[in-house]
Symmetry: D3
Subunit: 178 residues, 6 copies
């Protein structure tokens, strides 16, 4: 598999169509957990997961996306990816992980790997992480990694019956590399 | 012409392909003025303006964009449009105006009209305006209209040789309609 | 809304995707009435109305169609549109109206507005109206507006189980503008 | 070659991409002759002929077009094709022939063959031929074959600097088959 | 119909959309017979036959496919076609025939016609026929026509629950034409 | 970078758009060397390399291609990829390497890695390598790895002014894995 080794157990691998089913299974097993702040997880079907994989890889094909799965000892346990703006040399990182592997520092390490890849290999200048205000666990990652809280977009996202605020965190290449 | 009357002299009309040349001419006459904060204006060709019009109207066709030209007494003098996220019932407004018609309150009126259209007719919940930090004139409009400054995205945009910060302003339906 | 005011009560507005449902409802309430000479109305589903709106707007995007809805005091009551041949600077007009608003002169006024728009704003040279021979009410409009009957195309259209003749009416810019 | 034998010397063959160059050569040698009433012939490049062939065959692929070349003793000498409306079981015939082969009755025979094919094999109900009013030679064919003159569409076609009238001829299956 | 006369009774005609249903019927009546070595025949629906016809004709449109039906006295009895590589001036022939018309020498004649067409009209240099090893009847045709057995591709094709070997036969223009 | 470590120095990485220029440079420096048996290399432009990368990644997106670059100590030195037939659980491998890195056993190792990936991770049943008969160096690889020579396709490929024979080598999962 084509991968980026994060630590002894953990690696990121470009999502492949043949992993769509494994990816779907993790989503299905974590509908409530992931779906709390990411609505897609609540009802996504296998067909929709496949279509998401194809769309993501099409973005990879033109260099505006980097979709990866997180693997832990040959187990697919989550997803992390970049959405890139070439014109502005910036990207945002999105991620989720299976409940069972949460709170072990895995996602923080994966984010570090993605940030390294973005700043060092893709020559990005700015990386952004957006999280829903109430998603404390998700917000802890950019805070731990030294991102700066740059804004609070009010009622930015429809989350089931309510509107939720988005917190925007930003990190610059000059802050990470030196 | 299919239009939205803003005041006695000013109206917004859905951009039509036959106006591409007039639109191009205003851009060409204002390359330095508009191009100071919007890079596209510096070198856009007539072909590119036409292609932009077609792309924008294709967005209109699926209900995710509303591209309009600003007319003053039968003269095309600028552009204002919505980019819509249906899922989040939100939109951002983008605009520019010919130097000659600046500082007459025209753009503020046009924005008010667009905001009315967005909140009352399109049933949006949130409208955003983004401006480059140094673009004082552009920022004055959301400030005058009661938008709240929600964030400063550092080095968010490539502006010629430098990176520029983006200021995000947000306005909610509940703040506008009551 | 982006519209063309026809008289105090009546206006034409570029069809928007968000009006697809209202448009469908008028069709559904007038299946028998409209469907007498326009087969699409007999069985069209909401999905098909939406797809028609998208197709029509895509034609608008390239300047070969102008799809509008007829509004009477904030009520959607019918449809009128242009199909344009740029190469020949000509267009044909198609229209239908809810039964309840028929025979009040509304459609004649709307056609006049479309003809004005076509000859004055789009710089057309010829406008055509086609109607099924037996559709007396529809034929009355071009006759009232001074179109010339130019031909009778025999068995030109399948109308349910039978073939129907098409009457072609033509009007030239030189006949309308002076 | 896949063909329809018209007489001992003449046959119609579905246009194939490999004939695009021969087709182009006849057009190029007859620019003035064909171009008198068909503007495309005046400036068409080989690239445009190829693109026309591909478009025509794509119409053939969905059963709405039948593009053929006219062959005379292994020489490509002209073109004749059908544009089909399945919904109305009707078609129009378009044609042109090299000057050298004109006035020998070839085109009349080819039209008869196409009409037979249309009424007998494609089960059409109506076939139409349209010609520019001044194109006496082209109009002679439907008149000779018993088509009825159904209309004169005034200023229907842009022909170089002027507008030309179109004569519409119609023929019904019941008139041809019995 | 546009056809290539093979003998007094037999002809090949470019597949047309209107023949999709007849084509489907032959497949449906021969599901077991054709399906023994061609899996598509086992379950193909009418919709799939139509979609196959459209795809094949789209290949014809760009000169990389020649899909034909085999007709015997106005009866559609089978299919034969070319898949062309322009870059290599080569093609492969694929075919099947209704059980009832097998073992009469019809397919051998049709292949000869296709080979003639390929080498003489399309200027091919190499024609290939591939057959599953166990398909004795299909293999007899290239052997009878002087093709050379060039290879045995082991487990090349999934045939229901098993893998089957493919035999490749090749024929060169220089071997056929002189 | 997302990669598959082959040995201490060598790795395979999914081709990314940002590597198109490095890939082009190796081709440009090896036009004569690679181009001897692979015509694309003789004249390929940077634009064509980019378009090839996008096409290949689009194949990757649907799981029918695996395009990789060969890296040696952070230097892009060649290319190796799979073309997959899902229906038959088979693939063919294509490859080329810079002259400077030839004859060091690198390509044999890369092929072994690809074969492992194909049989173990993609669950393929058959892998094929095709080489032009005269390309001794390329043929040595499947021979060294235990592929079986299954056929010689005569005049299968246009190679500049001449036709060349293709040698087909096949390897089965059961031969590799046990």
């Amino acid at each position: 598999m084509f991968k980026y080794q994060v630590d002894e157990h953990t690696s990121l691998a470009i999502t492949e169509m043949r992993h769509a089913e494994a990816l779907y299974n993790v989503i299905a097993e974590n509908r409530h957990h992931i779906g709390q702040f990411l609505m897609f997880a609540k009802n996504q079907t296998l067909e929709e997961t496949k279509s998401f994989v194809e769309t993501s890889l099409t973005r990879f094909a033109t260099g505006i996306g980097v979709p990866t799965c997180i693997w832990y000892d040959n187990q697919l346990i989550g997803s992390i990816g970049l959405h890139i703006s070439k014109a502005n040399r910036s990207a945002s990182i999105g991620y989720w992980i299976s409940k069972e592997y949460e709170a072990k520092g895995i996602m923080t390490k994966c984010c570090k790997a993605m940030i390294d890849y973005g700043f060092r290999e893709l020559d990005l200048n700015r990386i952004e992480i957006r999280a829903i205000k109430e998603n404390i666990r998700s917000r802890a990652i950019p805070e731990r990694l030294g991102f700066k809280l740059e804004g609070t977009l009010r009622q930015d996202v429809q989350l089931y019956d309510a509107m939720a605020d988005t917190i925007v965190y930003g990190l610059l290449a000059q802050e990470w590399l030196y």
